[in-house]
Amino acid sequence: MKPARLPVRKTYKLFVGGEFARSESGRTMAIARRDGTHHVARATRKDVRDAVRAARGAWAGWRGRTAYNRGQIIYRLAEMMESRREQFVDVLLSGGATAREAAREFEAAVDRAIWYAGWCDKIEQVLSTKNPVAGPHFNVSSPEPTGVVGVLAPAQPSLLGLVSTVIPPLSGGNVVVALAPSSDPLSAIAFAEAAATSDMPKGVLNILTGEPAELLPHVAAHFDVNALDIWTADSGLAERAHVAACESVKRVRRSGTRDRKFWFGDASQSPRWIEAFMEIKTVWHPAGV
């Protein structure tokens, strides 16, 4: 009898500057799943710095694109996810989800990406004002992206939580360095693979696997990171990261819920998630002849 085909196993790597790379340290961590034990790259401080540099380098290009084009690229990312349905569902199943739970989370994640794709060219209209100043001036306030955003992805749900936290800053024109949860980093890697084939420019989204508790303080203290989403960090880690973030006056989003059910509800998608990583710029022009 002909033996069954031997499957090809995947090496799970970091996603930095549009490339899949091992940690510069060569370290990995073992992740036990239903389909066996996988070794996932364990990023270091140096990897954080490389990711921030890649993100900063990609920022001018990303924010310089039209909002319409950013919307199309994020929509394309959702398309790539949809076409990899089997892969995403398998990853969720291997993490212990039932078939029904896996399908539900996957579908919610794709729908969320589409929802935010549509916000790209609307957020500015919703957050802007034209201000009736008492004088001969034309005065407008409108949002601009803050820059590099560090995101601590929620531990659960691993796919929907990541999509719900990295897409809002991206749709506002920011670039992201995301830390995948150590308990379940495989969804994040699958998501990186979809992003890598979605026309998203290199470096716009960077995903690091490893121990977030080890990496987050370095992201928080990095002077070239403008904002931090630690909404789901536990209070001890959140406090340490937040205090470190103050040295460079970062914008910090903190103290949310750690309840996985939250991410399936309506409250988990809102333009406020985009607004948290936007700056308001006011411009004055004299009006006269």
């Binding site: 100043v133 406090e239 006056v249 910090v252 308001i280 006011t282 022009h285």
Partner: protein, 491 residues
Amino acid sequence: MKTITRATKAELAKGWEYAPAPEAHDYIKLRSRYGLFIGGKWLAPHSRKYFATINPATEEKLADIALGDPEDVDRAVKAARHAYDRYWRRLAPAARAKYIYRIARAITERSRELAVLESMDGGKPIKESRDVDIPLAAAHFFYYAGWADKLDWAFPNAVPRPLGVAGQIIPWNFPVLMAAWKIAPAIACGNTVVLKPAETTPLTALLLAEIIEQADLPPGVVNILTGPGPTGSALVNHPALDKIAFTGSTEVGKIIAKACAKRNRHVTLELGGKAANIVFDDAAIDQAVEGIINGIFFNQGHVCCAGSRLLVQESVHEAVVEKLHRRMQSLRVGDPLDKNTDIGAINSKQQLKKIEELAASGDQDGCRRFQTECALPARGYWFRPTFFTGVALSHRIAQEEIFGPVLSVMTFRTPEEAVDKANNTRYGLSAGVWTDKGSKNFKITSQLRAGVVWANTFNKFDPTSPFGGYKESGFGREGGRHGLLPYLELT
């Protein structure tokens, strides 16, 4: 007709004597000593200690001011909490609005008194306190009064709620205006406040407390607590506050941010700046020179958004510097209460030392110093309007906030270089652009990383116009609809 040459014009300007035109201040009735305004009452400080506030133009004492200690902070926070629970959150929003309208009206009614006092206590020229600070303070209360009963319309699909009790710490450069920027949106949104004015300029905030008292606001909605830095520190670290709003230096802002991070407390910060004022060769140069003068010398340069770095396109550098130097000579430095005065007194001895030290670093770095040649009063704290040429990006006077009438002039060749240099700072509060080309104007303003950009103008403020910084200049906005957000929780 005889042509008047530039040289003759300069001679004429030198010989032009102005008769003194002092604003009367004999009707200002100062108490000899001021208590703390807590829970609607004037209380003696727990410490029984007072400190003097002086007139920086004469070095004479104006009054003794209560020194609030941690006990007083606790009393004030409790009064504010009580007022929040008992009165302010329960009050109909329309009634809240009417109280705030009363404050706005009373400020206008007592505007001359406030202006004179502001100039006496802080050293700023009377024409600025009279025409800028006080009218803007009144307008700020008037604007936010109207929001109090319209908050449901401000943010789509969100229910706005007040945060509770806010601690607010303000600087000495625009004492009563900063008090208005802090108090008006906070109480309009339904919060109660404990405000700490700056150590060197407490008087107008105390007059504002009188106005609030006379407006019959429920006791404890606004509490004014005077004292030096440690009083502010006690306020920031008080366990029962819901929010801190701070305007001041980036160094202190970081300390406050960390204290708030440890307590997981809401905070907004309006910090330092080192604004670039960019002049392109296609700008209307004479107007630009006026804008440069206003940008750096307004309020003696004690302005966080001052245009303290001048970036001039190389081809017009010589012309701009010459015009600037000539225009600067016509600035009148002296008695803040004189209506002709352009540049008043430096706010404090300590600030004067800081300015002198940083200006000296410009000399040491080999920059060329230009100053006005006018006579300075014998007493008080003064610094001549100054600019340096030959400044490099790495020089301290190009990187550090001087907070005085000192301008650093640099050059650029291309628009890209101008933007790079303008953004080469840890700050991001404001910026200016001078060009007559519309499309260039829009492009450059969109590339500058600053919260307020003035195009062909500078140092304009309005209650409807959001103000606040990028990067290390802080976060949160004051003014406009965006200025409500720091005092609301949206659910």
